[in-house]
């Protein structure tokens, strides 16, 4: 029993001691909230994730690539630039100068990228207009079709229709 316990303890100690040998290092340095906030506007360029540098939490590259090898130094760089008195825009610009526009987490609202922002709104507005147009056309069609289809049958008064509708509602709902 004691031997078993000792073995387990030794295995645990060995395992714990061996950790640094095969685990990729990861930093736990304090990053300012401001740097994280700016980092959330930059895409993590590790090539293995589609997260932002501010939100990236790949633990030490155990996923497909050395993600924190990019996100963490980037956040540290942002902190450094902020300490030098750079503004948010200047920090972002320095990353764009280094990596190109692909470093933006979301397309900038200028130039060709503006298309990405305009498109969804345009779809929604255009789609709504089309739906409203279709509905109004169908409503008109209905109005124009009613007299023709009822020409051969006895005319039905609006009061009668309303009563019939109410009765149908009453019968179908409770």
């Amino acid at each position: 029993m004691t031997k078993g316990c000792l073995r387990i303890a030794a295995a645990m100690l060995f395992g714990f001691a061996a950790l640094p040998l095969w685990l990729a290092p990861v930093g736990a340095q304090r990053i300012s909230d401001r740097a994280k906030q700016i980092g959330s506007k930059l895409r993590c360029m590790c090539g293995a994730c589609s997260m932002t540098a501010g939100d990236c939490s790949h633990p030490g590259g155990e996923f497909s690539g050395p993600c924190q090898a990019w996100a963490l130094p980037a956040l540290q760089q942002i902190d450094g630039l902020l300490t030098q008195g750079k503004t948010e825009q200047q920090v972002i610009d320095s990353f764009v100068a280094q990596y190109g526009p692909t470093v933006y987490a979301e397309p900038p609202k200028s130039g060709f990228s503006l298309v990405a922002w305009v498109m969804p709104t345009a779809y929604l507005v255009l789609g709504t207009l089309v739906v409203i147009f279709v509905i109004s056309r169908w409503l008109k069609k209905n109005v124009s079709e009613v007299p023709a289809s009822n020409a051969s049958v006895k005319a039905v008064s609006p009061e009668f229709l309303e009563r019939a509708r109410k009765l149908a509602e009453q019968e179908t709902e409770e």
Partner: protein
């Protein structure tokens, strides 16, 4: 060859209408399925017998890999996953061919040809482009190539060695492949000018099954990302995730708009094109996953087969367009509306929102490619963009989920609006106001919560009203009456259950705005605080398993100084030639929040373990919602216990004259609520 014969023989059978030729083409279709099953079982046999003379087996398995994961190894790479696609499609095709072997004689030859055509394309890839049966060979000293057998394989990708990865791809693939069936029926019916709405009735169940698998696959993938990747999130708007969402959005739109055709004979053209689009988006999803045209974290199975998919999509689109142009008069609908405020209008807006969401996600996913074409530089479109664009659309869809089902067909009266929506709206607004007062200050989260309560109230009110009527007659308890009610009209109430499931999913999504995280390098005995929890590192150990060695941390979670759970986040190093690492997150999950703990690695300076803890509110509701959605779909697939037409005496209010030439008073038609 069988599939080619099924296509060619099927076309000949359609032209000649020879009964033996029709039968022969059908049998060729069945034989194709049988041969695909055989090929799939052969590949699995090669995995189970560790046959490392086959390149695919050597690349995706190793001797130590457990049998459970040797099944999953089948779809872990490009070649195998394409064969697996054919395998699942064959299950659907065989089921259809057997189910309708003596029915719908006019339509089935067309359907058979379309299904066999799709199969032929994938078999072309399986046989000539990405064969999983290629043998390993190496050049000898004399330069002559000879077959070789490796002593062991590379092993399975570490990320795939997780139980959910064994069920996530089959579910998702079942969704993708399942949409082939409604596509085949829609195109077949259009080509055959098959009369009436019968193809809609025939395909409803197949569409729902495919939709259920797709939903299940998406949520299982989200759970896998959440529990395995260790980045604390479940949805990152990765192109491959988006690709799975696209056909789901159009498929959902179709499941709703199809009711317009069934009930009112409207939107025939729209429905046919929705089915075509859904199928094309399934192929597009596979194209995006496999071609590497967009950068994705899902780089498990990529090669240069994109051109094949583009060609197939092009041919499919041409066939669909040709069939539509030739037979468009067959799709003439009697589209007319009685009122703007009606079920029909709500379906139109529902379809609009699903389509806008679909196009927004698609264009956002492909925007980096477009920007490269137009400007020469690739502009990234990440999660912040997709969240910003899709959250408002999602909330509008949620709103319609509550409103749409309670609007009557043709016209909804003001009294009915007040009766159906008065209380739910009030309850929703009150809950939203209370949440805001208690610090729930994120705008979209408050709106989402308000809408969730509103929609849940409308659904519960519907169940309550229906159960009350049954209870008045039978005297049974409310739950029993609720079950009775559901079984009388499974489609309607199953649909409500699905909507309720989606409400739960949205509740979970609303919590994401309040996620918190903290990371600390810790020594044994150190503690850190996250929300109401204190995490104390108690130690660490290592354990050797069959195919991996795990290094784990022992972290005690305390709340108010009382221990709640011992958590074991770990890192795994897998056997095999690649020696890959994997992460296992430890999660303490409650209905309020998830305490999510990751063993992040070792601090490079202090050499101490780094623990990364997240507090993710309401996540459990997402998985629960998924279960409810699947349950609701199963309910909706069940046949009704009784006819929807209820023959029961109805009360005639005193003082109201009977209507001339109206429906007999003994019959209460329950139209308008499916």
């Amino acid at each position: 060859m069988c599939a080619v014969y099924a296509v060619a023989g099927g076309i000949a059978a359609i032209v000649t209408r020879h009964p033996l030729l029709i039968k022969s083409a059908r049998h060729a279709g069945m034989a194709t399925c049988g041969l695909i099953f055989l090929a799939t079982f052969c590949l699995e046999y090669l995995f189970f017998t560790d046959n490392f003379s086959v390149a695919y087996v050597a690349s995706h398995s190793n001797r130590e890999l457990s049998s459970f994961y040797k099944i999953a190894a089948l779809w872990s790479g490009m070649e195998g996953s394409l064969l697996f696609w054919s395998f699942l499609l064959a299950i659907y095709v065989l089921s259809v061919l057997i189910t309708y072997r003596n029915k719908n004689g006019e339509l089935m030859p067309y359907v058979g040809v379309v299904m066999a055509g799709v199969q032929a394309f994938f078999l072309l890839l399986n046989n000539f482009v990405e064969s999983p049966f290629k043998a390993l060979a190496a050049a000898g000293p004399d330069g002559v190539m000879s077959f070789i057998t490796r002593p062991d394989g590379n092993g399975l990708n570490a990320l795939l060695q997780y139980p959910e990865m064994v069920i996530h791809p089959p579910n998702l693939y079942s969704g993708y492949t399942g949409f082939t069936i409604p596509f085949a029926f829609a195109l077949g019916a259009l080509l055959a000018r098959y009369p009436g709405e019968k193809w809609i009735h025939l395909t409803r169940k197949w569409t729902m099954i495919a939709w259920m698998f797709q939903s299940c696959g998406i949520l299982l993938g989200a759970h896998w990302a959440y529990a395995v990747l260790g980045w604390g999130g479940y949805w990152g708007w990765d192109p491959v995730e988006n690709a799975s969402l696209l056909p789901w959005l159009t498929g959902t739109a179709f499941l709703h708009s199809v009711m317009m055709q069934e009930k009112r004979g409207m939107m025939k053209v729209w429905n046919v094109w929705l089915v075509f689009t859904t199928f094309l988006l399934c192929i597009m999803g596979t194209f995006l996953t496999r071609s590497g045209v967009v950068q994705s974290v899902h780089a498990f199975a990529q090669s240069n087969i994109g051109a094949w998919f583009v060609a197939f999509m092009g041919i499919t689109l041409l066939v669909c367009f040709g069939a539509y142009v030739k037979n468009s008069d067959y799709l003439k609908s009697e589209n007319h509306l009685d009122s703007m405020i009606s079920r029909e209008s709500s379906f139109l807006f529902n379809n609009l929102l699903f389509l806008v969401a679909c196009i927004a996600v698609l264009s956002g996913t492909l925007f980096p490619v477009f920007s490269e074409w137009f400007t020469g530089s690739r502009i990234s479109v990440g999660a912040p963009y997709f969240n910003r664009v899709n959250i408002p659309i999602g909330l509008l869809i949620l709103f319609l989920t509550g409103v749409g089902p309670l609007l009557a067909w043709r016209k909804t009266s003001t009294e009915s609006l007040k009766k159906n929506f008065g209380w739910p709206l009030l309850i929703g607004v009150v809950v939203g106001a209370v949440a805001f007062t208690f610090g729930f200050r994120e705008f979209f989260s408050v709106v989402c919560l308000t809408l969730c309560v509103f929609v849940a109230s409308t659904i519960l009110l519907e169940f309550y009203r229906g159960a009350k009527v049954i209870r008045a007659r039978s005297g049974a308890s409310y739950p029993a009456c609720g079950i009775d009610l559901t079984m009388r009209n499974t489609r309607r109430y199953g649909g409500y259950i699905i909507h309720m499931g989606m409400v739960f999913v949205f509740i979970g999504l609303a919590g994401a705005a309040f996620n918190r995280d903290v990371q600390k390098s810790m020594r044994v005995g150190d503690s850190m605080q996250i929300g109401p929890y204190t995490l104390m590192l108690q130690g660490g150990d290592s354990k050797a398993e069959q195919n991996y060695t795990a290094q784990r941390m022992i972290v005690e979670a305390l709340r108010d100084n009382k221990p709640v759970m011992m958590l074991f986040p770990e890192k795994r190093r897998f056997a095999g030639n690649n020696q890959e690492n994997g992460t296992m997150v430890a999660i303490y999950s409650t209905w309020k929040e998830d305490l999510y703990v990751v063993f992040a690695g070792m601090d490079p300076e202090t050499r101490e373990p780094v623990i990364h803890a997240f507090l993710n509110p309401l996540v459990k509701w997402i998985w629960f919602g998924g279960v409810v959605v699947v349950f609701g779909t199963i309910v909706a697939l069940l046949p009704n216990r009784r006819s929807v037409l209820v023959l029961a005496p109805s009360q005639q209010p005193a003082g109201v004259k009977p209507l001339p030439h109206a429906v007999p008073s003994s019959v209460a038609l329950r139209e308008g609520h499916d």
